[in-house]
């Protein structure tokens, strides 16, 4: 095994982990406020198709990412309106959002199948990026990767160091108490849900602009659901979530590079790995009821309707 191979593997891990970091971190904030949005997959797909279309339309990667975030936010708004204003079931509405997102993105993307994109521009610092081994890894990534690296810092700081973060956690822990003290529960949950949508949209854009980079129907291939599982796996903590996402990235390289290392298993079985691992880690975490109960936002999934 050569050094080049290791560098290649690490690059693959980063690429595989980054969309999960975005989507799961957004969902973490949403869930911390007490809202369970099962529509991550649908929001990611909408973001992916919007980002891909925008990058050709606006000819700017940044604008494309913003457009994808907006698209994710819009779908999240739809979800938020249903569950927060109209009090619809969060589970059912989340499923609806996924089904809708799958259909909508397929419809919007029908004319884009088969087009390729050259990928996002990467950082290039004279000398640094050219350094052997670490150069490409540390100083040669695109801006989304750097953003995803900053995200756990930002989210952890927000949740545990700011008053707004404290209020968000409070709303997720007991909406009745938060309401009694005078916090606008519904408005806070709207904000958290929309943030989750924006992040899911960005995660989708990363898939269609960097990971593939092209538009394919259903290209998320369950990553939205894996992001949901990651939030549970991380027991709602941003740093564990970040680590979890990179663990999953690690599994992906197994899948891609197994042949190179000389493992001879049908490709389908290698492709099953991420899904099976997701189930395994979910089981490992969930079996400790105490841990889940101590860490899960107590109000998650429960509708809030202020008594008159």
């Amino acid at each position: 095994m050569t050094l080049d191979f290791i560098v290649l593997a690490l690059l693959t891990i980063i690429t595989a982990a980054t969309p999960l970091v975005f989507a799961a971190m957004g969902e973490l904030i949403t869930e911390k406020s007490g809202v369970l949005n099962l529509g991550v997959e649908g929001m990611m797909l909408t973001g992916a198709v919007t980002g891909f279309a925008s990058v050709f339309f606006f000819e700017s990667a940044i604008v494309a990412c913003i457009a994808a975030m907006l698209a994710g936010t819009l779908t999240a708004l739809l979800f938020a309106f249903l569950v927060l204003t109209l009090q619809a079931s969060q589970v059912a509405t989340g499923l609806a959002l996924t089904i809708f997102g799958v259909g909508l993105s397929a419809l919007l993307g029908q004319n884009m199948v088969g087009i390729a994109y050259e990928g996002l521009p990467t950082l290039s610092i004279p000398y640094l990026t050219e350094l052997p081994i670490v150069g490409k890894l540390l100083f040669g990534q695109d801006f989304l990767v750097y953003l995803s690296l900053a995200l756990p810092f930002l989210v952890a700081w927000f949740l545990y160091r700011t008053r707004a973060g404290l209020i968000l956690r409070a709303v997720g822990d007991s909406h009745d108490a938060a309401h009694a003290i005078g916090y606008p529960v519904i408005r806070i949950r709207y904000c958290a849900t929309l943030f989750g949508g924006a992040m899911a949209g960005l995660a989708g854009a990363y898939l269609s602009l960097v990971y593939s980079p092209m538009w394919v129907e259903n290209m998320t291939a369950g990553r939205g659901w894996i992001a949901l599982a990651l939030v549970v796996f991380a027991t709602w903590r941003p740093w564990r979530l970040f680590l979890g996402a990179y663990l999953f990235g690690g599994i992906t390289i197994l899948q891609l590079h197994a042949q190179a290392v000389g493992i001879n298993i049908a490709s389908q079985f290698m492709s099953m790995l991420p899904y099976i691992i997701t189930i395994v880690v979910l089981v490992l975490i969930s079996r400790d009821r105490n841990k889940i109960k101590l860490n899960a936002p107590a109000c998650i999934g429960k509708p809030f309707h202020p008594a008159a």
């Binding site: 099962l38 739809l78 249903l82 204003t85 109209l86 009090q87 619809a88 079931s89 589970v91 059912a92 509405t93 499923l95 609806a96 959002l97 089904i99 809708f100 997102g101 799958v102 259909g103 909508l104 397929a106 419809l107 029908q110 129907e217 291939a221 369950g222 659901w225 894996i226 949901l228 599982a229 549970v232 049908a266 389908q268 079985f269 492709s271 099953m272 899904y275 099976i276 997701t278 189930i279 979910l282 089981v283 969930s286 079996r287 009821r289 889940i292 309707h305």
Partner: protein, 356 residues
């Protein structure tokens, strides 16, 4: 400002009106969608929702498409009532098809009346086995069946892909990823001459009746409903939550498995890499639109089957993408959930007024 005012008693009328209202709103949204796509809305709606059922053959096709939707929808609605969110019916359907096909291929060219029943039973067992995994993980390890059953759907699809590329591939099939075409004994009998409407449709109707009796008349159905509504009250009454979770998932898995084997031994006639256009997911919509009631599911299943036929028809006649079907289905579920607010709340417009 929109304001919600809780009704003192949930409205029974709205329970039934809500799907109709949602359907009307979906059609309105459809008009907007078609206009935006530059297609005449009236022509599009006609092609989509009327034309497919203007012929007898169209009606029988409706039955063919509705069969898996009704089968799975009835079982899922029973589980949803108990808050067991089995959203992996698509995977269970796939396993049902695999198990059924395995029997058909093992007894290839063997004639016998017993083969078809054996295949159906194998399909049911396959679906149940796949659903048993989330059931076990939920009851034993407290893992969310939503995530596990969905992950298993991806696994099932890959497993099917492996089988049709490998062990189940037709040895005389020029390396196409397909199984042998089933022989006559392994094909469901047609119940309406000149059509593809098969015995499976009759089975689906039977399941509707059985589901109805189970949910509304039996102690087990009562237990399911109590567990879904108020688990603490269920424990207090002495009902077992674990038993209800197992029951829900076994019913869902069994029905989906049956639907899977019916698809391969009915309209398809062999095992292919893709055997369902997402029936397992659409059945979730069917269950909700059918008000989680078996009879409602029957109608909702026919409606969703129509959206599949309409989508295909619109693709042929109007050159519309097949994805429109998915958008319609998603929109209907969204709007239905929105309209359901009227069951528990009255909508009031304007600021809260003083009561004198």
């Amino acid at each position: 400002m929109i304001r919600l005012e809780r009704r003192s008693e949930s409205s029974r009328a709205m329970t039934y009106l809500s799907p109709i209202l949602a359907l009307v709103l979906t059609l309105l949204a459809g008009i907007a969608l078609f206009s935006a796509m530059g297609v005449s809305p009236s022509a599009a709606l006609y092609t989509f929702f009327v034309e497919p059922v203007t012929t007898v053959y169209g009606l029988t096709e409706l039955g063919v498409k509705a069969t898996p939707l009704i089968l799975i929808g009835v079982a899922l609605s029973i589980g949803f009532r108990c808050n067991v969110w089995n959203i992996g019916a698509e995977g269970q359907l796939t396993l049902g098809a695999i198990f059924g096909s395995a029997v058909a291929l093992y007894f290839y060219e063997v004639e016998g009346f017993w083969l078809l029943p054996l295949m159906l039973v194998a399909g049911i067992i396959g679906g149940m086995a796949w659903a048993a995994i989330p059931a076990l993980l939920r009851t034993r390890f407290n893992s969310s069946e939503i995530l596990t059953s969905l992950m298993l759907t991806y696994v099932a699809t890959l497993l099917l892909s492996y089988l049709v590329h490998g062990p189940f591939r037709d040895p005389d099939g020029y390396n196409f990823p397909e199984s042998r075409i089933f022989h006559d004994s392994a094909i469901l009998p047609i119940i309406f001459d000149g059509s593809r409407l098969h015995l499976g449709f009759a089975l689906a109707l039977l399941v509707v009746v059985a589901g109805w009796i189970l949910i509304s008349r039996s102690l087990i159905g009562f237990q399911l409903r109590v567990m879904g509504n108020a688990p603490a009250a269920g424990n207090y009454a002495g009902f077992s939550q674990k038993a209800m979770i197992w029951l829900s998932l076994m019913l869902g898995g069994g029905a989906a498995g049956l639907a899977g084997v019916i698809e391969v031994s009915g309209p398809i006639g062999q095992l292919l890499p893709q055997i369902s256009p997402g029936y397992g997911f659409t059945a979730i919509i069917v269950a909700f639109v059918g008000r989680l009631h078996p009879v409602g599911v029957l109608f909702a299943g026919l409606l969703m089957a129509l959206s599949y036929l309409g989508g295909e028809n619109a693709q042929i006649n109007l050159n519309l993408p097949l994805a429109v079907t998915g958008v319609f289905q998603g929109m209907l579920l969204f709007l239905l959930l929105a309209c359901d607010v009227l069951i528990h709340y009255r909508i009031r417009f304007g600021k809260r007024s003083a009561i004198s």
